[in-house]
């Protein structure tokens, strides 16, 4: 039987497959979504620099046939700042987990959004620190059991999209691996957007979050858990704040144009 070749396979670094993601993990899907968006837009991957920090999601760039930076936890936006300042012609795409981006990298995230640094941030939110074995993260729902909250999490989770909007990002959306069509569409949008853009992709981690918090290692069940809690922006408007706290609001929150960051001070003739 002839195996059907994934068209996007040509964008994968030679000899890198099979990948190291757990069976049922959403990271492989996100990798696929990204490459489909690139192909549908007919973009040249050589002109895209991909960046990953540390974590499961951060491993996505190492499979991509692009110039890539990888391997330091939380500093993806620092690298991106330097690259964009010297080579504004290159598109920079960051793949970051929730821990990488809004735990250890939280301040970089706020400040890069505030500056409207021209960078695409794809945040895969799997609700926990998965690479390290399933510890509590800033995104873990309140009272969840994780490896470091055996009696339930005493912390409240926070909303990366709200944070990005408040900080000054010019494009923000949230989708999930349950919604591939919408996610790909959104990735296509940000690849053409100029300015700080964040897509949060809610994703299943059956190995850790599933087993500890949801008591299931079935990816399908974890995915359903995400989907059952997902509501549209329109639906969310009919809910009280307390009701909303239990839900994941998905959709496009903001899409505006504004000046991008070109340095903390830009030389102007009149000051000479």
């Amino acid at each position: 039987m002839n195996q059907i070749e994934n068209k996007q396979r040509r964008h994968i670094r030679k000899g890198k497959l099979p990948h190291f993601f757990c069976p049922g993990c959403g990271c492989g899907q996100v990798l696929n979504f990204f490459l489909r968006a690139v192909d549908e837009l007919n973009l040249d991957l050589n002109k895209i620099v991909t960046i990953g920090g540390v974590g499961c999601t951060a491993r996505i760039p190492i499979y991509l046939n692009t110039d890539s930076l990888h391997g330091v936890h939380g500093r993806t936006l620092g690298w991106a700042t330097g690259i964009k300042m010297h080579r504004p012609d290159l598109k920079v795409v960051i793949f970051a987990g929730d821990g990488d981006l809004i735990s250890i990298g939280g301040n970089h995230f706020i400040q890069a959004a505030r500056r409207n640094l021209d960078v695409v941030v794809i945040m895969v939110n799997n609700f926990n620190f998965a690479m390290t074995g399933g510890q509590v993260a800033p995104t873990t729902p309140h009272d969840s059991i994780t490896m470091t909250t055996p009696y339930g999490s005493g912390e409240y989770s926070f909303d990366a999209c709200k944070l990005a909007i408040t900080a000054g990002a010019s494009y923000v959306s949230r989708w999930s691996t349950y919604k591939p069509i919408q996610t790909i569409k959104s990735i296509k949008k940000v690849l053409q957007h100029r300015g700080f853009s964040l897509i949060e992709i809610l994703s299943q981690c059956p190995t850790n979050f599933g087993r500890y918090a949801l008591k299931t290692d079935d990816p399908k069940k974890v995915l359903n858990w995400i989907n059952e809690r997902s509501i549209s922006i329109a639906q969310s408007k009919r809910l009280t704040e307390a009701e909303k706290a239990e839900k994941f609001i998905i959709g496009e929150f903001i899409n505006v144009e504004k000046d991008i960051f070109e340095g903390s001070t830009v030389y102007k003739e009149r000051y000479k």
Partner: protein, 385 residues
Amino acid sequence: MFVEKGAIKKRVHSGVHFMIGNYAVVEGGLAAGCNFFAGYPITPANEISERMSQRLPAVGGKFVQGEDELCSIYAVIGASLAGAKAMTATASAGFNYMQEGIGYASAVEAPCVIVDVQRCRGENFATQADVMQMRWGASGDYEIICLAPSSAQELFDYTIRAFNLAEEFRNPVIIMSETTIALIRERVEIPLPEKIPVFNRKYTNLSTEEYIPFRGREKGVPDFAPLGEGYNTLYTLNFHDERGNIDWNPEIYDKLYQRITGKIRENKDKICNTESYLMDDAKIAIIAYGSEVRPALDAIEMARNSHMKVGLLKLTTVWPVPERQIQEVAKQVKGVIAAEMNIGKYAGEIERLCAGQCRVIRATKNRGLIHSPEEIYKAIKEVWS
């Protein structure tokens, strides 16, 4: 010195200036071709960022004030990998934060220049207490190049050398500045641009198919490939083979780090510089670096006036250790004085190299003040008697 009218677009301000040390660093960086700077405010390094923010954008470079030292060091590395000559400046407390980035820059061989204006804990007094952190601050195996200027003029000169060494060896280079020289105001002579030696990194002339990103070439240093041209290099901290692929193989790990550290170790003679004063007939040598050289020279004058044959070995490169030069001095003299402004750190290196050859006296001082010539003179008398 603010920039004179009409000169703002000039990269190299040739001529003789009366200039603060921190400004000399900026002018040295610009003369060497620096076109990216990122830094976070910290005293006593602020004049570097301030002047960079004024000078760099006017000559076509980019300036970023990072939200912290981490953003700054990684922005510097990102810009460097994108092809810029990049630099940052900080002071001791900020230098702590930058260690992580220095480790990454060493692992992916990103040239960059880091200025650490050493200060005492939280206060801006004189010290050389970070001398070991320059070398050993980051986790993992690596080698560092660290230069120790002792005047505003040397801050200018050594910054140029720092950029050249960084580009030549694809390695972070640290300029070990100090409160003393950073805030001193002295004569700085800036040569004509054509008299300034500038080294630019080597880019590969191989095709995207033939290029192997981490294969050591000349002096063990790999050639660069530009971003965005299809070379598709993976710059990862994790251990990687010559092609940049993450590989969990002990043989590959060993080979990678033997090369990365070897390119500095094996080119020591090219990197390590020292200067000798009155060493020809010396029976005692002071070995000093940075601003400690200044009281040492005064003390030598006092000693020579009292007919004590004392000379100075000035370490302009602190890391890698100029082993050969120190050993030669140890063979020649009967005693060495290791002078430094800390509780005694580099003295250990000097003792190691002088062992079995001559005695070593530590002249250390860590109270926020530079040695007085009299204090070093006292140490000379102790060794002489």
